[in-house]
Symmetry: C2
Subunit: 300 residues, 2 copies
Amino acid sequence: MKVIRTITALRQEIQVLRANHAGGSGETVVGLVPTMGYLHQGHASLMKAARQQSSIVVLSIFVNPIQFGPNEDFDSYPRDEARDVETARNEGVDIVFIPSVDEMYPQPTQTTVSVSRITERLCGASRPGHFDGVTTVVSKLFNIVQPQKAFFGMKDAQQVAVIEQMVNDLNVPVEIVACPIVREDDGLALSSRNVYLSAELRKEALVLSQALRAVQEAVEAGTAVTAADVRRLLREYIGKSAQAVIDYAEIQAFPSLEPLQDLDELHVFDDLLIALAVKFGKTRLIDNIRIEHMEVLSHV
Amino acid sequence: MKVIRTITALRQEIQVLRANHAGGSGETVVGLVPTMGYLHQGHASLMKAARQQSSIVVLSIFVNPIQFGPNEDFDSYPRDEARDVETARNEGVDIVFIPSVDEMYPQPTQTTVSVSRITERLCGASRPGHFDGVTTVVSKLFNIVQPQKAFFGMKDAQQVAVIEQMVNDLNVPVEIVACPIVREDDGLALSSRNVYLSAELRKEALVLSQALRAVQEAVEAGTAVTAADVRRLLREYIGKSAQAVIDYAEIQAFPSLEPLQDLDELHVFDDLLIALAVKFGKTRLIDNIRIEHMEVLSHV
């Protein structure tokens, strides 16, 4: 495994690995796992999927300044490069790409890739400009690595929807592979930001997965029939934590993210996303489940 | 030569041609010439450059609706597919890609690639949204064709600057080759829009190249020293046509397009662009010359 910090060296190394693979059978697939580092088992599951589906696995670690708002946690975002490199090695990654901010933005970028509509809701509403930063840096990474597949976690379900929209609209020759959320044994969805939580708040944060599980059970039991039923259940369960401040607790079509009306019946929709963003102290956590053809896909 | 109308068929054909070339010596270079059709000798010069510098030459013909304003000439933009295909054949093009609007935009695009700052001046000022349309469709074409080189005419000098900015900012793996303006014997820069001109207006339009030639001679003679000298000369010459309505007649650094102050002396700048946009009746024409290291690069 190589750790590479410049775009030029990365392109050269991929060319070398591609040439080595070209002799073998079948097509050479470069798989990219774009991350902001501080890797956990959620990231590891992306690397595992990439390893299974690709000839060459590139992991990028870049805390991208332009996707953080002025009052967000860019400076304090947790970093642990040595441990990340070790994790990547254990998962069989071929190249870890760790560019500096200067390498990625030698001048402030004048070019922005932006997706409208589906970026205006949910996280986009409370984090203006966030998704422009994401789609711009993902475009850069795609152009630098030129992967055939890229692996993203469904924990950031809106990010997956936004990137798929970008890929479709711009004919980007990359297949987006969305991988399921990975959870702790007690249900908490893995996140690099969980490290911000005190022991007490971490316990409170369990209401997220509990709320989603309650919805899941109610949908399966047929007691949650409309969007209003789902919204009521979510608020009821999250309300059990005195610390929880809801940013959103919503149900929408996936991947369009068109919100459901209160009276809309769930069975009418093929693919639904139930998504939460809740603040515990200064830490904002997100979680979701997806329901396809009324089947709960990702049990909490 | 193949004429191809769908993205899927185009990608397949490029893959076949790439595989055929891979056996030969050296790297396979795909060269893209993106056009809106109604091809003239200016386009032919781009195809010639592409033929010289590429293994596989793809010409695209697409009148891109999203780069036209609501009151512009999208519907009336001249089209002649049969003649264009013949021109492409004569220039040794391998593939002519002629997608429909539905093929390029099956749904209205939610994704926009936009370049700020250098798009705000010159043509960007009088055609709001125009360059967003250009950078978005060029991104799509780059993603569809995945060329190593793309060929653009310097007649649209600002377009070249904008695309180079986009390529640099987004690490697009395409080399932009800018080719010189091609002119009629009497100096008129070739343009698909020249067909709009009556015989009378076509004659009047010669003031554009005359104004640029006057500046060129004055710079070489040392009588035009400052930006104000250039601006005065341009207006003096264009003023000789009673029909000419100036949109802009400007001098700026290239490729940043930072405007010069009136008192700025030309010799201080490494690379200058003197650019005109002038309306004759309903027809808006553009022309320019470039001066590098005080050497006039493209004599009118």
